[in-house]
């Protein structure tokens, strides 16, 4: 294997692939990155067994030559060292050559590294994907779906299936749900080219967080390929594979109240800021609780009280308050997460009782629904 490549293109591809490489892996070869030089270009692959990322650097792009291929071939190099080396090479031209078995030379300017590589045949193959079940979405939409749900996954391994986001396709609609059993985030999206069959899978939250970092905020299409074990996202020159979580995701539809006793419409950003301020006095995890009190028809009071530190009260104007008066306590963090996901100005909050879940959604559409369980105070 021998080729020359522009350093900035190699680095860009490496950056994406490194997101899958973990130093904690139990499979030794996965601490490496697989490099394959083929006629059409260079493929880089990184994996931690759960996530596998492959990037491609074409020989030529828009009439510009990026790779000069002398000899095809493949090698596995230690990810951490190779990445650091490429980052610090002195010029933008990099020559990579495998000689005498697995010895790999990396040259740039007057700098020359001799690395000991490993046999690329020992590196696991990419998951096999039948491509009949697939659909596409713009990258920016995939990113916002991730942002609006993934924060609500559970961080505790006690119910592993809750550490993922449930993706369900039915009747031309993609429904994404995440819950840690204290709050729930749900986002529905109409698909323009939905697959024919129904689909139901749980994607690890960690995979979605990494995918979100790799995808660019643009309207380029992302093709999403579904199987029962894996999900594949194809975006430009990147292939992102994720293992799916095993186990049945609980049916969450019954948790969502269908009626309410108190309805509050409020500017989401103003409420977010007030809660952020109130939580200044309630930073400790255990006491990160604020109280929400309706005041007549057009104001709510946000307050917090820490016995050792002090207390805070703030009034937020409401556009509308209907139904019963209400005093309810909840986690400041959960509320801020939910308001951030909805993003808009006009947020509708539907309460059904001080010890029952309440709903947040935009006044303008039902695509995003956030559900939060209150905090009980004694």
């Amino acid at each position: 294997m021998k080729f020359e490549v522009m350093r900035d293109r190699l680095l860009e591809a490496l950056n994406d692939v490194m997101k899958a490489v973990s130093s904690k892996t139990t499979v030794a070869i996965l601490t490496g990155i697989k490099i394959e030089a083929k006629k059409e270009g260079i493929y880089l692959t990184g994996s931690d067994a759960d996530i596998t990322i492959q990037t491609f650097i074409p020989v030529e792009e828009d009439g510009e030559q990026i790779v000069q291929l002398t000899q095809t071939g493949s090698i596995v190099l230690q990810a951490r060292f190779f990445n650091e080396i490429v980052r610090k090479l002195p010029t933008n031209d990099v020559l990579i050559e495998v000689k005498n078995g697995y010895q790999t030379d990396v040259r740039s300017g007057k700098s020359e590294f001799h690395l000991i590589g490993q046999d690329a045949n020992d590196y696991p193959l990419l998951p096999q994907m039948e491509e009949d079940q697939s659909f596409t979405m713009p990258a920016e939409l995939v990113k916002s779906i991730i942002r609006e749900t993934v924060f609500a996954v559970s961080t505790s391994e006690s119910r592993p299936v809750l550490t993922g986001v449930n993706w369900q396709i039915r009747d031309g609609e993609l429904m994404c749900v995440a819950t840690d059993s204290h709050r729930l985030a749900r986002r529905s999206t109409k698909l323009e080219n939905a697959p024919a069959d129904e689909y139901n899978a749980v994607i690890p939250g960690k995979s979605l967080n990494e995918l979100n970092k790799i995808l660019e905020d643009n309207s380029e299409p992302v093709e999403i390929v579904l199987t029962s074990q894996q999900i594949l996202f194809k975006a430009g020159n990147v292939l992102f594979y994720s293992r799916l979580l095993e186990g049945n995701y609980p049916d969450t539809s019954r948790l969502i109240p269908s009626e309410h006793k108190t309805l509050v419409v409020v500017n989401g950003r103003a409420l977010h800021q007030a809660i952020d301020r109130a939580s200044l006095l309630a930073r400790e995890e255990r006491n990160n609780v604020v109280r929400f009190t309706t005041q007549g028809q057009n104001a709510v009071e946000i307050s917090s009280n820490s016995p050792e530190i002090g207390k805070v009260e703030e009034q937020v104007l409401a556009e509308q308050i209907e139904g019963e008066e209400l005093v309810i306590s909840f986690s400041a963090k959960y509320m801020m997460d939910a308001l951030k996901a909805i993003e808009g100005h006009d947020v509708q909050i539907q309460f059904t009782g001080v010890m029952r879940p309440f709903i947040l959604k935009s006044v303008h559409d039902d695509a995003i629904l956030q559900l939060i369980l209150p905090v009980r105070t004694y």
Binding site: L184, L255, E285, P307, M355, R356, P357, V375, Y378
Partner: protein, 412 residues
């Protein structure tokens, strides 16, 4: 308040339970008396004994059969806790006549801050007055330590028993305390002593001669605290309120034989969890930690605890966590004693519980009651009605020595 300026008493009743029994029944006076739970059972141990019994080599925690062998004339008395409670209250009432700053530590000991009551020279006279009043009015002996802080006062009261009065000044520390075994130091238990011995620290002086940093490397924060105490430094105030700051509620059970059966042990854990839950309920507390203790057949003590984000007070939660901790801790050796404790208690009002999708329906059932309570409180004032969790229920079994502190609450 400067360290030098303070004058603190530590008062320690001498073999309290036995002395109360001797005061109650004068025919026991001058004789070897032991208070023991149930002298007939194998597991019976000496709770406390009179000085006459101690002369025969009988000591607290000694098994009954062994005590009988050491002292065949030993008279056994079963404990009458109500008697001890009344005597304790009378003793603290006398202390409160001299200062408002009285901090009960347990049923038979407490600190008194007399800084603003006497000047230095008169402190010994005041101690003598208190000691002779307790002897004359209650017929009970005690020892008093006089020092500028709690640690030194506690060490001083232990130096002369019975009926001692000992003054311990900071300048006495090096020649009085430093020659003592480090285990004699208040705050050093068996485990800490073992750890210190591994580092060749055998006397309080060995500890004092280290640097504070070295002490901290061996024992962490606790090491720093002990190091300062070895130098006679202790700034803890005498806090009359500390009696109300209950830190844990726990129950333990000595088994009638050394148990090895897992189902049987788990059943004991269940029972203990139930007792702890009902005591918590009676006091209206919840905790954030669960602690499990095992004493093996060879008196090896092991314990394990865990902290939770959500408050622990339901029997089912205590049971679940205690069983899990027990199974993680138990090495399958025969077990003599098991204990379950809920720690990190919080007052109602400071407590919050994040509801979950699994639990909220159960909790929501209470909503109508809660609404009613709030309505009544609005109408008739806060104290007119309270939620059931704070109402005292009768007949819950409670650990006497831990609950006596409630007496100080009732007096208010």
């Amino acid at each position: 308040m400067s360290e030098r300026g303070r004058i603190l008493f530590h008062l320690d009743m001498n073999s309290f339970f036995a002395s109360v029994e001797q005061a109650h029944d004068p025919s026991l006076k001058g004789k070897p008396v032991a208070v023991a739970g149930n002298p007939k059972e194998r597991k019976g141990i000496i709770i406390t004994c009179s000085y006459e019994a101690r002369a025969y080599g009988v000591y607290t925690t000694m098994p009954v059969w062994e005590a009988k062998r050491k002292c065949p004339s030993l008279l056994f008395v079963t404990p009458t806790f109500e008697r001890y409670r009344i005597a304790s209250q009378a003793m603290f009432a006398i202390l409160r006549e001299y200062s408002d700053l009285v901090e009960p530590v347990s049923i038979d000991e407490g600190y008194v801050d007399v800084t603003s009551v006497v000047n230095g020279a008169d402190a010994i006279d005041l101690a003598k007055t208190i000691q002779s009043r307790i002897l004359r009015e209650l017929d009970l002996p005690c020892s008093i330590g006089i020092a500028p802080n709690k640690f030194l006062a506690k060490m001083a009261s232990g130096m002369k028993k019975p009926m001692g009065i000992t003054v311990l000044r900071k300048r006495d520390v090096a020649h009085v305390l430093w020659p003592l075994d480090v285990e004699k130091m208040h705050g050093v238990g068996e485990k800490t002593a073992n750890k210190l011995r591994e580092h060749s620290i055998h006397t309080i002086g060995d500890l004092g001669r280290m640097t504070e940093k070295q002490a901290s490397e061996v024992l962490g924060q606790h090491g720093e605290k002990l190091w300062r105490r070895a130098h006679g430094i202790d700034s803890r105030p005498v806090d009359p309120e500390s009696v109300y700051e209950r830190k844990s509620v726990g129950n333990s059970k000595t088994l009638s034989f050394d148990e090895t059966s897992k189902p049987a042990l788990l059943q004991h854990i269940e029972q203990l969890s139930g007792k702890v839950a009902s005591r918590l309920k009676e006091k209206g507390y919840v905790g954030y930690g669960v602690h499990v203790q095992i004493r093996y057949h060879d008196w090896q003590n092991r314990s394990k605890s865990r902290t939770f984000k959500e408050p622990i007070y339901r029997q089912s939660d205590i049971e679940k966590h205690a069983k899990k901790l027990f199974l993680e801790l138990w090495n399958l050796e025969p077990v003599r004693l098991v204990g379950v404790t809920v720690q990190q208690l919080k007052e109602p009002g400071e407590i919050t519980e994040q509801l979950t999708f699994d639990s909220y329906q159960q909790v929501a059932k209470e909503e109508p009651v809660r609404n009613l309570v709030e309505e009544l409180q609005k109408k008739y004032g806060k104290s007119s009605i309270q939620k059931g969790i704070r109402i005292r229920s009768k007949g819950s079994s409670s650990s006497f020595s831990k609950d006596f502190l409630n007496d100080h609450n009732k007096e208010e």
